[in-house]
């Protein structure tokens, strides 16, 4: 594979960039693989990459029903952070932050990782106390956290509403300076290109429609392009998890819900960090193109529609305008939605299953993009070694049975009620 470098860029300029290698091939499915990964989103692609790179397992196929990167990995608002209170989430995500920092070099692909910091705004003394507690927990786990007072927040985001008589005055905020954003498509493409180069077959336009299980062991999958044998199968289908679980006679602590996001018309640089509203669910950042990238609540009822409903968008943007009044002057450029695997405690599942050779990766809720590298890394380990790594040991499926929930947000068992 040609390396992406300034020299190769110049060299290829002489042939009008007509002779670059394809970034990945378009192979026919083989009869059999050591590992089949279902789902060519961020997590599936990263898993295949780390299977090849860390475990030398290259007889691997990624089976994607549409095109790689067409799911949530290409629909999210790209926030990357590890500002969690619970050890399981904090340590897992901070391990991921390290992988993010190295990712562009590691993949030889510019994923435009931009550690611009995230600020969670607080609107009361009580909320400041909660944030102080979370910040301290983060620091105990080696994650950077700074508690900002009102004046310090004002220095960073002067465009927010700091007037006295607002309904939700800004008291301060919790900042993780090392958090940030990345280019989501590049993450999918970067992992795909390297995985392909190491021998992984990326098979697109191929839908998994069933499984071949006998005597408690997985033997292969059935797809729209025929049957494929596999010693091991990993599920990375995010919002489609329930559909495939049904074919395995499993019911999971997951519901599929719709999350929307939108961008404004591009404007000059105004916001250089990620900011979340503390009195509702709204978050914002500015893309490199200048668009204000915004999102918030789920639509609120089970949905596989991949497109949203206006009342939620209106509600979310009302919060945004309360926080940053200048947003009301901007025109909306685009809105879209993705279907989300909402777990019952808000934390993910990366685990083995009761079926030998079948592995589960799901329950990513609002935060699966930032988890892409750590999820791929730990899922590859779980599949290759047939046992969980200590980093994903807490993300077990049976925690709902044993009561060891990881309830980060205090939302209880149904994260979609908020």
């Amino acid at each position: 594979m040609q390396k992406y470098s300034i020299f190769n860029l110049v060299k290829n300029a002489f042939s009008n960039h007509q002779n670059w290698d394809l970034a990945w091939k378009d192979p026919e499915p083989k009869e059999e693989y050591d590992v089949v990964i279902i789902g060519g989103g961020g997590h599936g692609l990263a898993t295949a990459y780390y299977l090849a790179k860390e475990h030398n397992i290259t007889k691997v196929a990624i089976i994607e029903k549409g095109w790689i990167g067409g799911g949530n990995v290409g629909r999210n608002t790209t926030i990357i952070r590890s500002n969690y209170m619970h050890d399981e989430n904090g340590l897992f995500s901070e391990f991921g932050m390290d992988l993010w920092r190295k990712m562009s070099q590691d993949l030889n692909y510019n994923v435009m990782f931009s550690p611009r910091g995230i600020i969670n705004l607080a609107h009361s003394d009580a909320q400041m106390n909660v944030y102080a507690r979370r910040g301290n927990s983060m620091r105990l786990n080696g994650i950077d956290a700074v508690l900002l007072n009102r004046e310090q927040v004002k220095e960073i985001i002067p465009m927010a509403d700091f007037s006295e008589n607002v309904r939700f005055p800004i008291f301060g905020g919790l900042m993780q300076p090392s958090a940030g954003t990345a280019r989501h498509d590049a993450v999918a493409w970067g992992y795909a290109r390297q995985a392909d180069d190491m021998g992984v077959d990326i098979i697109q336009n191929c839908e998994v429609i069933g499984f071949d299980v006998s005597a408690g062991k997985i033997n292969g999958i059935r797809t729209s392009r025929g049957n494929i044998k596999a010693k091991k199968v990993g599920l990375c289908v995010a919002g489609s998890t329930n559909i495939l679980a049904e074919k395995l006679n499993m019911t999971l602590p997951i519901e599929t819900h719709l999350l929307q996001a939108c961008v404004s018309e591009p404007v000059k640089p105004v916001l250089d960090s990620v900011v979340t509203f503390g009195a509702g669910h709204f978050y914002i950042s500015q893309s490199d193109k200048g668009e204000m990238v915004m999102g918030g609540d789920l639509d609120g009822y089970n949905s596989y529609a991949q497109r949203g409903n206006l009342p939620t968008l209106q509600h979310v943007l009302t919060e945004g305008i309360a926080m940053m009044p200048f947003l009301s002057k901007l025109k909306m450029l685009r809105t879209w939605g993705g279907i989300m695997d909402m777990s019952m405690d808000g934390s993910p599942i990366i685990d083995k299953t009761h079926i030998d050779g079948l592995y589960l990766n799901c329950g990513w809720c609002y935060g699966g993009f930032k988890a892409t590298p750590a999820s791929g890394w730990t899922f590859a380990h779980t599949i290759a070694q047939d046992r969980v790594h200590e980093l994903n040991a807490g993300y077990s499926l049976n925690r709902f049975n044993t009561g060891h929930l990881i309830d980060e947000k205090g939302l209880g068992t149904k994260t979609w009620i908020s």
Binding site: N242, E246, I254, T256, Y301, Y304, N309, P311, N401, T413
Partner: protein
């Protein structure tokens, strides 16, 4: 905007309602031995069907009654609505 026909009040916009999840989930009978698995299925595990889905909604800004709604989770088409204690046919 979804429009939901409340069996008590008639057709109303979705913003008057709040969502209550899968209506086919049954609480285990308390007067017999209940396994952990049964509690799991009641509290956490959901089919989350793609297609026809029977679900609970509450007409929170109206009559405040809980109702059952049969809705398609892929197209959002609403087929039928029922009172909470009405048999679904």
């Amino acid at each position: 905007m979804l429009y939901i026909k409340c069996p008590h009040c008639g057709m109303r916009p979705q913003i008057e309602f709040s969502y209550g999840g899968d209506a086919s989930v049954k609480r285990p009978e308390l007067n017999k031995e209940i396994s952990d698995k049964e509690w799991d299925d009641f509290v956490y595990n959901r089919k989350s069907l793609r297609g026809k889905h029977l679900e609970l909604w509450q007409h929170i800004s109206g009559c405040r009654q809980w109702i059952k709604v049969e809705r398609d989770t892929a197209t959002h088409e609403i087929f039928k609505t029922f009172k909470a204690d009405e048999e679904v046919v």
